[in-house]
């Protein structure tokens, strides 16, 4: 800091006369807000175009120590953002240690006109703890260094600087003259006219009562599954960037007095989407149970209590994960594409992230991936992730950005195309694995690994072949049983003279059906004979029994017809023949069962 001071003062002596002969800042009102753990400098400028023509470029500058830590830089005219780009080289005549940016106005400032603009810079990590180390219970004092005047290549006619502090405990501020402290404000009201590149170190040494929650690195992995969920897993390394703790740490003092806590913090709060579910909070040791989740209709508020309170300089790491449904984050776009809308950075309050890496894992087979990002300085790269049921790996879009503050947690979009067939790859993979297993079993059962093919084996083979043929025979036997059943039903259905007369004809028809069956079964039987005489004999026996059953069924039919013809009432006739009918039916069942047993061998 003292080096900056020397450099700036030396440079001040070399103020070039070649001021940019275009703008003159008529009034510059600087408000430097230090109430948070990062600095926010809002410069309200009124600049007049004193050049020869319409101008649309305006240069704003900062000391290098601040410029290197700028997270957000905005130039607003009537609350409308203008384009800002860093300048590679400071303009002519700038002192060393100065970084500049050029704002390009949307509408040029006419010659002689004035423009009111606001330059807002959010800067992290510019508080220097002094004393650097404090014991437990001591208050945290930090120093803030800046340029007292508006660091500008233009001449400044009138300016004032105000520093807003979080507390009214100010140890010192310099320069003393021109400045006044009232409450938690240090103001330099009228700083008078200054030429371009006016440098003067401003230093404020004060008590900052907020803990400095700095996330050293955050890896945010967003995995999209089209089966219904988006999985977000965030891995944090968080450190207390305030005055370092030295000496002993007493848990008792910590718990029992507010002084025991000072610049430390035990937890961080996050605002997750309302539909977030299946939250988990863990680290390398395992699950961390000290957390509180509140579900409301607008958000899910989670208070994550760290494993131990972070005193100054202490750090810890943890992983927070949750799932959200597709609705609200994944949308259909024209031409079969899909759009994923997610927030870029962390949803924790009051933290700034030094190194942010957001990884978007898309389903395997996603193509034509394109990201629309809210900031230009986000680096994109590609990676592959292998997880459940992956063959070629899932494409991962890796976005990196450094120095991210909460106001930069904006949504970004990733467009890609993914077909339904692409999604079916996963179940098809599983199905084909099982199918391969079953096919292997079927194949194995067809293979024969007998070493000696002796007589016994031959007999066994012949027996098996015969059984196979008998199983085909059972088809014919089933048809015969069916015919028998129909005969019995026909007998049952005869209830009057005309049907009795028609009965014989139906009987003939049914018996005719049996004839071709007989022929075919004879052929099969002869084949079985060749293989296994024993089985053939049994099968023939069985076939003969069916002939006998056929005879009984025919007799039942004719009995019933006769009774009807004798003008006996139908139900009486049925009752008389009930016994015979039942027996016949039982015999048919038995015959069918026998046939089945025979086929089993």
């Amino acid at each position: 800091m003292s080096r900056l001071c020397t450099v700036l003062v030396l440079a001040a002596c070399l103020v070039a006369s070649a001021a940019a002969a275009d703008f003159v800042v008529e009034n510059a009102s600087r408000r430097i807000n230090l109430k948070n753990t990062w600095a926010k400098a809002i410069d309200t400028l009124k600049a007049k175009n004193t050049g020869d023509s319409d101008l649309s470029n305006f240069v704003v500058c900062y000391p290098e120590s601040i410029a290197s830590r700028i997270a957000v830089l905005k130039v607003l005219i009537k609350k409308e953002k203008q384009e800002v780009a860093p300048l590679q080289q400071a303009p002519q005549g700038a002192p060393a240690g100065v970084s500049c940016y050029q704002a390009t106005f949307k509408s040029a400032v006419k010659k002689g006109a004035t423009v009111d603009l606001d330059v807002v810079a959010t800067v992290t990590g510019v508080f220097k703890p002094n004393p650097a180390k404090i014991a437990q219970g001591e208050k945290q004092y930090v120093e803030y260094y800046d340029n007292l005047y508006l660091l500008s290549p233009y001449e400044v006619t009138e300016q004032s600087s105000t520093v807003l502090l979080p507390t009214s405990d100010v140890r010192s501020f310099s320069p003393q003259d021109g400045g006044s402290k009232s409450g938690s404000k240090v103001s330099y009201a009228a700083l008078g006219k200054q030429g371009p590149w006016a440098v003067q170190q401003l230093k404020v040494h004060f008590h900052h009562d907020k803990p400095f929650k700095r996330v050293n690195s955050l890896v945010r992995e967003i995995e999209v599954s089209h089966w219904g969920n988006i999985y977000v897993e965030e891995t944090y390394e968080i450190q207390n960037a305030g005055s370092q703790h030295t000496g002993k740490f007493s848990r008792l003092t910590y718990a029992h007095s507010p002084d025991g806590k000072t610049n430390s913090f035990p937890d961080v709060k996050a605002h997750l989407p309302a539909a977030a579910h299946s939250l988990y909070y863990k680290d390398i040791i395992g699950n961390i149970s000290s957390s509180d989740t509140t579900h409301t209709s607008r958000e899910t508020l989670i208070e994550v209590r760290l494993r131990y309170p972070l005193m100054g300089g202490w750090k810890t790491d943890f992983t927070l994960g949750y799932s959200v449904p597709l609705e609200g984050f994944l949308y259909r776009r024209p031409k079969g594409k899909l759009r994923l809308l997610m927030d870029l950075s962390t949803s924790f309050d009051d933290v700034w992230v030094e190194q942010l890496t957001t990884r978007v894992v898309l389903p395997e087979g996603a193509k034509h991936i394109k990201a629309t990002l809210p900031f230009a300085d986000i680096q994109q790269s590609w990676d592959k992730k292998f997880t459940y049921l992956d063959t070629a790996g899932r494409p991962v879009l890796v976005l990196s950005k450094s120095n991210v503050v909460p106001e930069q947690n904006k949504p970004f979009a990733v467009d890609y195309s993914f077909t339904f067939t692409g999604m079916m790859r996963e179940p098809l993979l599983l199905i084909s694995v099982f199918a391969a297993f079953f096919a292997a079993v079927a194949l194995y059962n067809r293979l024969d690994f007998t070493i000696t093919r002796d007589e016994k084996w031959q007999e066994g083979q012949a027996h098996d072949k015969a059984l196979g043929l008998i199983q085909s025979l059972t088809e014919y036997w089933d048809r015969e049983a069916d015919v028998l059943d129909r005969l019995v039903r026909l007998a049952h259905s005869i209830s009057n003279r005309p049907s009795a007369d028609a009965a014989p004809a139906s009987r003939q028809a049914l018996e005719a059906e049996l004839r071709p069956l007989d022929e075919q079964s004879k052929a099969l039987l002869s084949q079985v004979e060749a293989l296994s005489p024993k089985l053939a004999a049994a099968a023939r026996n069985h076939g003969d029994k069916s002939k006998m059953l056929l005879g009984r069924a025919a007799k039942l039919l004719s009995d019933k017809s006769d009774l009807i013809k004798k003008d006996v009432a139908a139900h009486e006739a049925s009752a008389k023949l009930a016994g015979a009918t039942r027996q016949l039916e039982e015999a048919i069942r038995e015959w069918v069962d026998e046939g089945a047993k025979l086929a089993q061998g």
Binding site: W227, N229, Y231, L326, E327, R332, T387, A442, R446, G468
Partner: protein, 82 residues
């Protein structure tokens, strides 16, 4: 950023437990029938068509059942999923 119609999952997530159990049960039964058919018939009496049908339906049911089992349980157990 513009967005279009929201994307819905092909199968509502509330049905995962039911689908997983039903499909796995059907699949295991079909697999059992397949193995029964394998051991109760000889290689001369087996019919490829019937075998193929049983095997295919068993593998479809088991495959889909495993998928839904994975979808249902992997997130609560491991934190991420297919």
């Amino acid at each position: 950023m513009e967005a279009g119609a929201p994307v819905h999952p092909p199968v509502p997530m509330a049905m995962y437990p039911l689908l997983a159990t039903v499909l796995l049960t059907v699949g295991i039964v079909a697999a059992a029938l397949f193995f029964l058919y394998q051991v109760t018939t000889t290689r001369y009496s087996r019919k490829i068509a019937f075998e193929g049908l049983l095997g295919l339906s068993a593998s479809v049911a088991l495959g889909l059942g495993t998928l839904f089992l994975l979808l249902w349980l992997a997130a609560p157990l491991f934190g991420s999923v297919p």
